[in-house]
Amino acid sequence: MTMEETVARYKEDFDLFPSANDKIEYIFDLGKKHTTLAQEEKNDETFVEGCASAAWLVGECKDGKLILRGEGTSEMAKGMLTLLLDIFNNRTPDEILSFDPAKLHEMGVVELLSPVRQQSLEAFLKKVYEYARKCSEELKVNNQK
């Protein structure tokens, strides 16, 4: 499933819910599948600067793909991380870099987030695209060798 297809699947899921509250609650529900990071992985380098609640994101370039793992501390962060990792994790850096994050609005939930939470999303995306650019450069260097 491409990133766009994953977004479309989430749009279908969110469309099932009759009210904004139900959609937000579904984000919390997704957070039940949230994974955690080892304590030593939660450091300054992985800290997502600008998130409303503390969150960390690990990005590793493996076999030509960017592997993302994260941990959030609030229910909302856990849910959003689970959702976003489903879209961004295990993709090639080129896939991520050519994906327009504005497409996330198609899910119909970004606009339901409070301004503070929207900032958190921006902070997350900034971190993801940083990892993707770094991974892309690593791959280019490796290919030139």
Binding site: P18, D22, Y26, L30
Partner: protein, 257 residues
């Protein structure tokens, strides 16, 4: 009737005596249900039809004073109602209860996930559940606002009964007891409810249809008709018995000892 448990019988009701308050209602009732079969229970008012359904599910109104009930070969007479439900026994209420403030979809998802957990299956998330629920709502001709309304609150008689069938379709029970599911239904609702029930007829589930009227049996074809009178099954026959009952009434039926 065999005294030993039989795998072909999903439910065995053995010489059951039960009372409500001080009044004995069931007086040595015997009945076996087999998977894939539809058993209709008919009988005059006060014969014990609803008491029978309540006794099977362990309703708190009932005190079972004798006999035994085996479900899949195990005695369930000491099981709590919720254990019976989790194991796959379902009763659609004659008068479904209204619970204001409890969202219908939440209620159903909680019930389904409790059953799935009991069966060692993964719980469904809200989107997975709603997808299933919407499909069933469409099939039952129910409006999608059933998702956000409170359980049975302000529902019409037909909506309440359809909602009972919705619960049945979602929970996929093995023993399905329908206590006067046809009462208060207009012809469209009766057809929708019957179609829902018929969709569950996959050869694996047993049905106990309790009714006063033969009308629903035109839609849900029974394999057996049991006539209940004064707390006992006094006659068991094939579906041909319905026509005779319609013609001559319950008084014409003599107990077969």
């Amino acid at each position: 009737m065999s005294k030993s448990s039989n795998n072909e019988k999903v439910l065995e009701i053995k010489d059951v005596h039960a009372k409500i308050g001080n009044k004995e209602i069931l007086k040595g009732l015997n009945l076996d249900l087999e998977p894939g079969k539809v058993h209709a229970i008919m009988g005059p008012n006060g014969a014990g039809k609803s008491t029978l359904s309540k006794t099977i599910v362990g309703h708190y109104d009932i005190e079972m004073t004798g006999g035994d009930i085996l479900y899949k070969g195990k005695s369930i007479k000491d099981w709590e109602p919720e254990e019976r439900a989790l194991e796959g026994i379902f009763l659609s209420f004659q008068h479904p209860v209204e619970i204001p403030g409890v969202n219908n979809a939440y209620f159903l998802r909680t019930a389904l996930n409790a059953k799935r957990k009991h069966e060692g299956k993964e719980e469904l998330n809200a989107a997975e559940f709603l997808r299933t629920m919407k499909q069933h709502l469409e099939e039952l001709g129910m409006k999608s606002d059933m998702i956000s309304r409170s359980l049975n609150e302000g529902f019409s008689g037909g909506e309440k009964k359809r909602n009972e069938i919705l619960q049945m379709l979602i929970l996929e029970p093995d023993v399905i007891i329908l206590d006067e599911i046809d009462s208060g239904l207009d012809i469209d609702a009766l057809r929708a409810v019957s179609e829902g029930i018929n969709r569950m007829k996959d050869g694996k589930r047993a049905f106990l249809v309790i009714t006063h009227y033969s009308r629903i049996l035109d839609y849900i074809k029974p394999d057996y008709i049991h006539v209940l009178k004064e707390g006992r099954v006094i006659k068991t026959a094939g579906p041909e018995l319905v026509a005779r009952l319609e013609e001559t009434g319950y008084d014409s039926i003599e107990e077969v000892q």
